[in-house]
């Protein structure tokens, strides 16, 4: 795992032949696994470029105060990017642009968060070429004063045949605030496979009851469900899991 730090809104120096960094633009030339952590950030503007024929797995992690994020991901031919993201910021205003620029560019986007303030995520996926694929999965939990809004725009212009568009966003509310999901699919092509799902709700009574019938108290039951819910969207190594465990343990002792 290669750890890249973004400190005070700037990507820190990182020496690796597999990528180049210039003016907050990270260009990946080779396949690899990376962890990118935002530290002491409040306004991030990053561009990620991915060369063709590579597979890159990234874990993005942010536990900041109030933060604005504007990131762009540009994918070339036959590039597969698996992006796992976990946020637990005081508040977040995020704009994500994913540009599938060439044939067989494929984004696997898995975002999880524990929302404790006002969070907004606008994710725009542009299928700029035929036979491009997007799988967008968001799973968040609202806690304390947390409220979250997702706007997910999947955009497919006419003529770009054979694309697969998939988006699924779920929010579990553990408080009484209002959250919103806007799943938008702007599709101007008949030759397409598209699917979307959106759920805002609570953990079910039956799930809670089942776990409690095994002697697990309410707090630990919710903790178990939260862990399961968040990690079912994040396939991380031990280091990544440990970071999120630490956050979960902070809220559910």
């Amino acid at each position: 795992m290669n750890n890249i730090l973004v400190v005070n809104n700037q990507v820190a120096n990182f020496h690796n032949q597999a990528l180049t960094i210039k003016n907050n633009t990270i260009t990946f030339h080779q396949s690899g696994n990376y962890q990118i952590e935002y530290q002491k950030c409040n306004n991030i503007n990053l561009t990620y470029n991915f060369a063709k024929d590579i597979y890159v797995k990234i874990f993005e992690y942010s536990t900041n105060e109030n933060i604005i994020i504007k990131n762009t991901y540009n994918l070339c031919q036959n590039t597969l990017i698996t992006l796992y993201k976990f946020y637990n910021n005081k508040s977040t205003n995020e704009e994500i642009n994913i540009n599938l620029q060439e044939e067989k560019a494929h984004i696997n986007y898995h975002f999880s968060s524990i929302s404790i303030g006002k969070d907004k995520h606008h994710i725009k996926i542009n299928h700029f070429h035929q036979n491009t694929y997007s799988d967008i999965y968001n799973k968040s939990i609202t806690l304390n004063n947390g409220q979250i809004e997702f706007i997910v725009d999947s955009i497919l212009p006419k003529g770009n045949k054979g694309c697969i568009l998939n988006q699924d966003t779920r929010v579990i509310t553990l408080n009484d605030t209002q959250s919103a999901i806007h799943p938008n699919m702007y599709i101007d092509e008949n030759d397409v496979e598209a699917r979307h799902g959106s759920i805002i709700g609570r953990f079910s009574h039956d799930e809670i009851f089942y776990l409690m019938t095994r002697g697990i108290n309410y707090n630990d039951t919710i903790k178990l469900l939260v862990k399961g819910y968040l990690f079912s969207n994040l396939n991380l190594d031990m280091e990544g899991r440990a970071k999120i465990f630490e956050i979960i343990n902070k809220y559910w002792r």
Partner: protein, 263 residues
Amino acid sequence: MRLTIKKLNVKVENKEILKDFNLNIEEGKIHVIMGPNGVGKSTLSHVIMGDNNYQITSGDIIFNNKSIKDLTTDERSRLGIFLAMQYPMEIDGVSNQDFLRTAMSAHANKYIGLYDFILKCEKATEELQMDKELIHRPLNIGFSGGEKKKNEVLQIKLLKPSLIIMDELDSGLDVDSLKIVAQNIKDYLKENKETSIIIITHYPMLLEILKPDYVHILSNGRIIKTGDYSLAKDIFTNGYNKYIDNSKIDNKANIITKEAQHE
């Protein structure tokens, strides 16, 4: 272990499900609750376990000389009551191992280490002829009907309850799996002689192996007849009609309910 249910009245969404229900279960006894669909059998199991979807309007549930009516579900479980469910929950993301260890730790009131867990779990899964991979999978996700029920029995073996309520544990099990499950329950009872069981079932095979002490017919929210295993055999052959059509509470049922009232 001793369970006494006294004059219990239970409502769900303003509909009365159990009416002046009485039951007395002594240490080491196997009771069967039978009855047509919708008479309140599953309600009874959920009420004993403290499901707050069900409202107790009057009466009491006494477990080992202590009222458990006001205890939470987890507290009742830690006292030794276990509900094996007809439809065990599928919970995505929660690994079976994490779930089992958390439950074992809650019962032991101390953290159960991985080595200790593996030792106990391996023995139990072998006895149940379970695929060990199921321990690492999300809880009940992708399990067959039989695997889910074996996973319920695995929990019994690990948590060691003194009152087991089996709500149609035998549904969804093939003949071979049912024999394995029943044998494991039988072995558990041999090792834990104080343990009692309430079996809710529509089928004879589990009863043939476990040989219950009492069989009760539940109708319209109360027990209308109590007998021994021969009553179950008669129901499997002839159905419920003759008992329900003539649903005056019989003497044997009365004896048990009177005992319960005197507790």
